[in-house]
């Protein structure tokens, strides 16, 4: 009996062992294993994995680790000219009047706030990856996923020249957000493939729609509750909305469809928010430059500071934070806008003009009707255009004619605070949820 049982027990053990190996071992994607991010061999393996997941040749760039405090110190000591600082202060003061920034934010604080969101980044200028050491284990699954994300940026840079991409297509805040959504979205999708594979699942097992709906709603809530919704918009907007856009492109046409997006990036946040494959509205293009109607013609005492096209996402934040129920509908119908900032030499205060061009007169009328919400603010509508005006001093507002004439924006006036890679040279990656 014992003799008969022994081979049977052996067979059972072999079967159990096989089941454990097959069922519990999993097959990490593209050979990805958890290793120490400081080890060059580990870095090479992650670079190869990112390339394998993206189905392109690998790109090797060095990886360094910097302490959190050291990084924050580096970032919060930006070297900007007194003129640029003055423009920043004026710009921020106007955003504050609309409830989109704290009134006393300094450039150093702004830089520190942005840096505080970063877990690691790929430097477009230096062509290297920097991990910001927040005490999270450097040999963990989360760190592997983060590095895959950063190597995906290195691959993008080698294939599409990210700096050039932003220069060519990200000329204002809105367009930079859209290009950023493409760049961060694709890197996040590669990172997600690594995360799913490391867990032992297949991408098809993931309820992507639920993931994106939940993530995007949380991003909206975070942006609404943030005291810095414009400054941190790259972190609130690009990842959740860019990820879904690129994911849907991949689902429709594989990685080639994602490549096609890099050839012609989305024109602005309105197009990104509409989702991949959404047809251009019948009423007109996704975006429309205001060109000759960009900034107001004002008396000489108002000194021009800066102007930028902010786009649908920022407009939604403005209207949503004001409690207007039509905020999302208004942003969906926003074709163009320019926010311009002036300093009043007579009062020392600031004045802001935000000209919106909507897809319909009805939408413009709805937005114009809500202008009384902001103190020292007013609205003026001309057909599909609404200009919101706000001033830090009531006296300034009295001296500005309601029916303003407009003109093209002065050259090189875009606000330099939009966190474009061309400005900061970094593609940051926010910490994973469990950090």
């Amino acid at each position: 009996m014992v003799r008969r049982l022994a081979p049977m027990a052996g067979a059972v053990l072999v079967a159990l062992g096989g089941a454990v190996a097959a069922g519990c071992g999993g097959t990490p994607p593209c050979g990805l294993r958890v290793c120490d991010a400081r080890d060059p061999a580990c870095q090479d393996a992650i670079a190869a994995c990112a390339a394998c997941l993206r189905q392109v040749p690998p790109v090797a760039v060095p990886v360094t680790v910097v302490g959190l405090e050291e990084y924050l110190e580096q970032q919060s000591a930006p070297t900007i000219s007194p003129e640029a600082e003055q423009r920043f202060v004026s710009w921020n003061a106007v955003l504050a009047l609309w409830g989109l920034a704290p009134p006393d934010l300094t450039p150093a604080e702004a830089a520190r706030a942005q840096a505080g969101q970063v877990a690691a980044f790929y430097s477009v200028d230096v062509k290297s990856i920097v991990i910001v050491d927040r005490g999270y284990p450097l040999d963990s699954q989360g760190m592997m996923e983060t590095l895959v994300h950063e190597y995906a940026h290195a691959i993008q840079d080698a294939r599409f020249d990210i700096g050039h991409l932003f220069e060519q297509y990200g000329g204002d805040f809105d367009r930079a957000q859209a290009v950023g959504a493409l760049v961060e979205g694709e890197a996040t999708d590669v990172e997600d493939l690594a995360a799913v594979g490391l867990f032992g699942d297949q991408p098809g097992d993931v309820p992507w729609d639920r993931v994106y709906r939940s993530w995007q709603e949380r991003a909206r809530k975070t942006a609404l509750e943030s005291s810095l919704p414009v400054l941190l918009a790259p972190f609130h907007f690009r990842y959740p909305f860019g990820s879904e856009m690129v994911h849907d492109a991949m689902a429709a046409g594989g990685w080639a469809a994602a490549d096609a997006l890099f050839a012609i990036p989305p024109s602005g946040t309105r197009e990104v928010l509409a989702g991949f494959g959404a047809p251009e509205p019948a009423s007109g293009p996704w975006t429309e430059d205001l060109v000759d109607d960009a900034v107001p013609v004002l008396p000489e005492r108002f000194a021009f500071q800066s102007a930028d096209r902010m786009g649908a996402w920022t407009a939604e934040m403005l209207l949503e934070r004001a409690g207007l129920p039509f905020a999302r509908a208004a942003s969906e119908g926003l074709r163009g806008d320019v926010l311009s900032v002036y300093r009043d030499a007579a009062t020392g205060g600031v004045v802001g003009f935000w000209r919106f061009r909507f897809s319909s007169i009805d939408l413009a009328t709805t937005v114009a009707g809500a202008s009384g919400i902001w103190q020292n603010g007013r609205a003026h509508q001309v057909e599909r255009d609404v200009t919101l005006t706000i001033a830090s001093d009531a006296g300034s507002l009295l001296d500005i004619p309601e029916n303003l004439a407009f003109q093209p924006a002065p050259p090189t006036t875009a606000a330099a605070f939009a966190n474009r890679p061309s400005a900061v040279g970094q593609l940051g990656c926010a910490p994973p949820a469990d950090w």
Binding site: D192, F199, S214
Partner: protein, 202 residues
Amino acid sequence: MFGTGWASAIGSSMRRSTTWTALTALSSLLATRGPALAAAPGVATPPGVVVSAAPARERPGFTASFGLGSAYGVLGLQVRYDRPLRPWLHLAPFLGGGTNTESGWSSLVGSVGLSAGLGWRHRLTADFVLAPVVWNELNLHGTEVDLRTIYGPHLAAGYEHASDSGAFQRVLVGYGWGEWGKGAGPFPSEQTLTVGFGWRVW
């Protein structure tokens, strides 16, 4: 049968190792009640002497318990077979199963292990268990997508009180090493707390 009291226990272990001696002495110190008197085989019982059987805790048998901790699948039941090697030294292989908040109370997990107890009524106890250690979650951008049970070995030590009827209460602290589960490791390790209440069922 063994004599009562710790002097006898010490005496019986003089030729054994120092460790054995120390363990025996410790178990005697833990005992607030020595083994029950029983007639030796072949010895006639004098008239008027009441012979009591060994209490249930000193006899082999099955116990069932419920409790908290990895050996219970966090919250669950356990069946063990108590096998006294000596009245003060017990081994008990066991099987357990239960459910947990991590899985939303929706799945059952199992455990298997061996418990050792040293003492009579009050016992030092140690468990070696293969059981769930942690639950590995696939969380994509704040959304829980999947959850995996990661098994591994646990070592725990603590205190167990066993009554004459075989009922027991136990509390142990220990450490579990996450070793086996789907997906790429390494998996984390965890400190553990086990609390159980059981009774003799057979």
